[in-house]
Amino acid sequence: MPRIRVDVDGATYEDDVEPRVLLVHYLRDRLGKVGTPVGCDTSNCGACTVLMDGVSVKSCSVLAVQADGRDVTTVEGLGLNGTEHPMQRAFHEEHALQCGYCTPGMIMASIDLLRENADPSEEEIRDGLEGNLCRCTGYQNIVRAVRRAAGEMREPSEREVAP
């Protein structure tokens, strides 16, 4: 069984894993990081999106062994010292969720979107989030939240903590 060493949300883990274990199952079942849900199981919905070496990936489409030597950030790694990430706060304040199932993936994909485009238009946000499905909100408030977070992250106020 291959042995992997992977950084997840700031901590280093070493584990023997079966090659067929998906990254999302490793995160949830081995590390207890259940903040990352399994959604569609067909790579469509994006609920399991995490950052690997800083870029978004669908963790149901990556093997845990492929994360060996990589740095993984889940939604649980965003808040520092109990402070919400600006994207988390914007989702809260704009009511960008109802059932919340898509939210962890939506937030991770949104952070990845702003990494490449700090001031996206509404259309660019919709394009950037096309791999993340939400069946509650109709996306209106999600787009508003990303716009709001983008504004705050460009001009951080004193209470914010950047990722």
Partner: protein, 284 residues
């Protein structure tokens, strides 16, 4: 769902990968970006004995200028291809089509070579490679050979590569000044497969069409070259009327599939409409 068990091999070099593939026998699969293969494994539509993961074979990610051609390494990701200045300058059709593949997270992992080797006629890149007369460089322990795009796509999800052959890179003849390109993709929802797609490049010459290259996505068991349309527009006027008339031949000889998204007849109709649009966009 959880994939069936398999042996996992992670080579660090091309030589190691080719040897591993030869040793593993016919029930081995190459894992490139995994964005098509992983869902197949999870749904147990594929259950290879061994998986050879190219993720750490970094030389295969190179994109290089080779004079008259552009060499795109098989493991260059879609994300990398879309942003590459060489691709944008000399193969804009590839950049435009790749932008429409799936979604950002999938484009971070999915690879140029993986999409082509997968040989899904509903995938966007096979038609692009066919339209551009790309050449595929493959290697096995028996040696290297080149396969022209016209011979590479054999049948539904079947390429001309032997089970022990690995796709190393794809050579794309550069399109220089005077060429315009467009990929017209018709789908009902974001990130869905093309119901029909049209890959098109047009060279303008003194106000007329000097040359056109057109290939169709999801119009048969392989990507389909629209040769009749290419002939009909060559030497003719750059006008929407001329393009619409030529595009009437877009589905000639094609045997499009029928599925949930549309009948064969509907796809034939789409091919004519989308080909006219693609020609107009590429020539503008």
């Amino acid at each position: 769902m959880i994939p069936a068990t398999f042996d996992y091999v992670r080579p660090g070099t091309v030589d190691e990968a080719v040897t591993a593939l030869a040793d593993a026998g016919e029930d081995a699969k190459i894992l490139a970006g995994g964005q098509s293969l992983m869902p197949l494994l999870r749904l147990r539509l594929a259950y290879p004995d061994s998986l050879i993961d190219l993720d750490r074979v970094d030389p295969l990610r190179e994109i290089r200028d080779e004079g008259d051609t552009l060499m795109i390494g098989a493991m260059a990701t879609h994300h990398q291809v879309v942003r590459d200045p060489l691709v944008r300058e000399f193969a804009p059709l590839i950049a435009r089509a790749t932008e429409t593949v799936a979604d950002p997270a999938v484009r971070h992992r999915g690879t140029f070579g993986g999409s082509l080797a997968h040989a899904d006629p509903a995938g966007d890149l096979p038609a692009v490679a066919l339209a551009l007369d790309a050449v595929f460089l493959v290697r096995s322990v028996r040696g290297e050979r080149e396969i022209p795009a016209a011979d590479f796509f054999v049948d539904w999800m079947t390429s001309a590569m032997e089970p022990d052959e690995l796709l190393l890179s794809v050579r794309i003849p550069k399109l220089g000044a005077g060429w315009g390109a467009h990929y017209e993709k018709f789908h009902r929802t974001a990130q869905a497969w093309a119901i029909v797609g049209v890959a098109c490049a047009v060279r303008r010459e003194n106000g007329t069409v000097g040359e056109a290259r057109i290939a169709l996505t999801n119009m048969g068991s392989t990507p389909v070259r629209a040769s009749e349309v290419e002939r009909a527009v060559a030497g003719g006027a750059v006008s929407e009327a001329a393009f619409r008339s030529a595009a009437e031949h877009a589905a000639d000889g094609a045997e499009p599939p029928a599925d949930l998204h549309g009948s064969s007849e509907y796809r034939r109709h789409l091919a004519t409409v989308l080909t006219a649009r693609a020609l107009a966009a590429a020539a503008s």
